[in-house]
Symmetry: C2
Subunit: 234 residues, 2 copies
């Protein structure tokens, strides 16, 4: 009897924004796995730290931060192999995933390598998108609004088209693209509709009008754009 | 000293998908408020039922299901007034919100009426979008994918344009629009990329290829579309 691969969303960073199910599964885990930087730091582990049993086995997947994809993919190959050893022994493996496992998460690299051979279970988590809206106190979408979620690295022309078409926009992974995106939104006359949120739900959280956002921004930062004066209230 | 208006996301329906924070705030509440149908049924209350203290005051906001907006808006006027009575007495009021308070939720109608006068706190919740992806075991977005979230009532021409432009699409509130949307996706050659999910995370959950989905679909149903064979794995 093989073990099950369980991808657990941890939410945006505040450990209290984990779901009851995430906490239960982690607290009952004999084996957990998570990505970490080369220096060993793991945001995922830090969110779940209080829930991980002290005697759990920990599979650490060290992801090299390179521009090329090869080294990271090799790290996922090794991580998947380490996880498979445990699954083959009949142990369930709980993979700790920042945010939601299937929403811009690295879990899918493990899922793609293991889901054909092993039973899987996915526990959704609170995403940074709605967390940023909550922290900025800006309702995101109502009624028949279309919401576009756009990664910051997207080219400016493409980004402009998508922002024009949507009722509300969340631009993720802003980081070093902040200056370019800020200029684009200014050019579109949308500066005053844009709010910047960094590290939502963490003690170091920042919520600022886009004009006052730091450049470059941290990786975990987002720009929210809503249009019209109060589109959701009329 | 006035009380605080606290909008709490409850997640998609499984009570275990509430956050630890939602559970703590509800379990400690002296006053909760929630929307209900005219017959008294409340999906929000049913999700939170096990967390609500037996002696909590409950403010029920009965929302008439009419096509015109007037009667529902009048119900929110009354609900906001009832909540304000408690806030003025210094009581915090925990508003129970299906999913996430600021993501297509009715909480914003209360927020818009009360946020200027009272302190507020918003607790984000797991949305139906990532829950549907989890239950369908379909990774939603990776890397630089653009995700479009589209309400089902949107017109077909508009919907087509947005689906063409996005890397991944979630169509919410499918309901009676299922037949029309299914025909559109078939015409676009995307039928095989589309998965239907209804009542995600509830015991009555259904996950089906779109071709086999019931028409009309229930209100709480969604169509997920991903493009290419395995866009997130290459």
């Amino acid at each position: 009897m093989k073990g099950k691969l369980i991808g657990v969303g941890l939410g945006p960073g505040d450990p209290e924004l984990m779901t009851l199910k995430a906490h239960r599964l982690i607290a009952g885990a004999r084996v957990v796995a998570y990505p970490a930087l080369e220096n060993g730091e793991s945001f995922a582990r830090s969110i779940a730290a209080q829930s991980i049993p002290p005697n759990a086995d920990e599979i650490i997947i060290n992801i090299p931060m390179t521009v090329e994809r090869g080294p990271a993919q090799a790290a996922y190959d090794k991580g998947a192999a380490d996880i498979a050893v445990q699954l083959d022994k009949g142990e369930n493996v709980v993979v700790l995933c920042e945010g939601d496992p299937f929403f811009y998460g690295s879990f899918m690299y493990l899922f793609s390598r293991l889901a054909d051979e092993y039973e899987t279970d996915i526990v959704p988590g609170v995403t940074s998108v709605t967390t940023c809206a909550a922290m900025a106190k800006r309702p995101l979408t109502a009624r028949n609004d279309v919401l576009a979620i756009i990664p910051g690295p997207l080219g400016s022309d493409d980004m402009r088209t998508r922002i024009e078409a949507a009722g509300a926009v969340a631009i993720m992974k802003v980081g070093r693209h902040l200056g370019r995106i800020r200029a684009l939104l200014s050019d579109m006359g949308l500066s005053e509709n844009a709010t910047y949120v960094a590290r939502a739900s963490l003690p170091s959280q920042q919520v600022l009008p886009l004009e006052r956002a730091p450049d470059p921004a941290p990786y975990f930062s987002m720009i929210l754009i809503t249009k019209g004066e109060d589109p959701w209230l009329s």
